[in-house]
Symmetry: C2
Subunit: 308 residues, 2 copies
């Protein structure tokens, strides 16, 4: 049993690899990324390749039974360079779908999609019936890919696009995500530094810890029944001021946070309504469960050493 | 002023060219198709080229002020060959959007989209807020293109995707459209032949004549204000038995029509609910106005000679 992970050196990829090791994930694993791997667990194979270079897709798919496609150009970078976003966030997933549709063996493909497909104008509540309405090039390419995944699934491919919410806590200086401030606040509180957030204290976000996101991806890989082709993952709806208070409580540090809302950021990331995910819930996908658990898990991710 | 028409030798393209001549459309016109043109009005330029061949897009766009992109792989053919549909119905429109976004001159781009983006499960009524929910590869590629058109328009491109309803009366033997039976019945009634329709007498469709579709495309090209990036065109909602009766009345022939509904065809094309198109209505787009006018216009299209 061979599982392939693209974007494996990235933030979510690293969390996934860690959870594979911790949970004793069965079979061989091939980690693929365009950047070299700092380290790699014993027995894991690595492949360093540009995904759209000639031969890359054949090399990465060779012998695969399961594929987790995490490689992406994040939202901020995609907005600055929509042509690059098209190559990474649209053309490569389409190529994966086409290759797997033509492959003789039945492969389960799990692709990372994003709540960015919803855009900023959201009904109350958002649920599994809410249509996508992206307002960024990143969200547009993710929504286009979802359409292609659903069509490939209709034709028999075992594929699911999982809409990931905001994931905390990304490493400091992780660039490209405009919603990165939700991760920055863990750093600031952990180290006692000052931080000005671009949203109001009352801003609401949908969040999941990297560890919990990884567990949901593993669940999608190993689920016995074929999930629906597009799934919105459960997420905790968190008010920023509550997140700050819980992070302060958990670390014992006094928060030195100021709120200076930027209207565009507040509109895009700070007004998320209630989220209902009955399809994912019924299949056993879970968010962190509580604000306390979310914060614990975020603090325990790979930058925890530096804070402690 | 140079207007470029792709798919100009096709059914809608020919109707568009005819209306350009009849209405004294201003400026130069370049007609582009992969198949040779049977004839071409005086003063019109023609270009025979495969759209995705090297250099084609540069040649067809050279000097263009307005572009109407009609070239497409129709629904039935797209369903049989989704990779070809991707090339024609997705990759080429995306290339057009990217080239025009990078072009120094401001070009108005009008792309033919389709009510196929809605799929078969429709709310009552369908309106401008109804989300797309395609269930065919053709509809999926059209919906993906619409997302890209909206994103390009957000970035400043002057582009609009027009959702065309069923268009009558396509030439006899025109292949590739599963909804072609709505055209076939004009032939059968015009010639007095027997025809078995794959829908029930009570089936409802959204129809427009080719002439009226052409007039709407010309309207989109010449509208002074930039239209919204995705527009559903108005269409007459017609019950098949009424269409048969009106065609019989107009031709003076007794219809020899049997109804033998195929569930898949009836579901996909025969249960269309009320259609509301306030955005297009407000901008002056129009359907044929009445069943009588629709049938007259359909009968007068280029196969009328043969019937008469």
């Amino acid at each position: 049993l061979l599982t392939v992970v693209t974007g494996a050196a990235g933030f979510v990829g690293q969390a996934l690899v860690r959870r594979m090791v911790e949970t004793g994930y069965a079979g061989q694993v091939r980690l693929v990324d365009r950047i070299a791997f700092g380290s790699c667990p014993a027995g894991f194979e690595t492949l360093v390749a540009e995904l759209d270079a000639p031969g890359s897709v054949e090399a990465l798919l060779a012998g695969a039974d399961r594929v987790v496609h995490l490689a992406a150009l994040p939202g901020g970078a995609a907005e600055r360079d929509p042509l690059a976003s098209r190559r990474v966030n649209l053309d490569f997933p389409l190529m994966l779908l086409e290759r797997l549709a033509a492959a003789p063996r039945r492969v389960r493909l799990v692709l990372a999609s994003s709540i960015a497909v919803f855009g900023a104008s959201l009904p109350q509540p958002v649920d599994d019936e809410t249509p996508s309405s992206p307002d960024t090039s990143y969200g547009v390419h993710k929504a286009m890919t979802e359409l292609a995944v659903a069509d490939a699934a209709r034709r028999g491919l075992n594929a699911v696009a999982m809409r990931l919410p905001g994931i905390v806590a990304r490493p400091r200086g992780d660039i490209g995500f405009k919603s990165g401030f939700a991760s920055d606040l863990f750093w600031a509180i952990g180290t006692g530094e000052r931080l000005t957030l671009p949203v109001s204290a009352e801003a609401t976000m949908w969040l999941i810890s990297a560890r919990c996101a990884a567990d949901n991806l593993l669940h999608a890989l190993t689920l016995s029944e074929a999930p629906p082709p597009v799934l919105t993952l459960p997420a905790l709806r968190v008010k920023i001021v509550d997140l700050v208070a819980e992070a302060a409580r958990a670390t014992g540090n006094a928060p030195r946070i100021r709120y200076d809302p930027e209207p565009a950021i507040e509109a895009a990331f700070g007004r998320l309504p209630e989220l209902r995910t009955p399809a994912a819930d019924a299949l056993g996908f879970r968010h962190d469960g509580s604000l306390e658990a979310l914060v614990q898990s975020a603090l325990q991710s790979h930058f925890a050493k530096e804070i402690a």
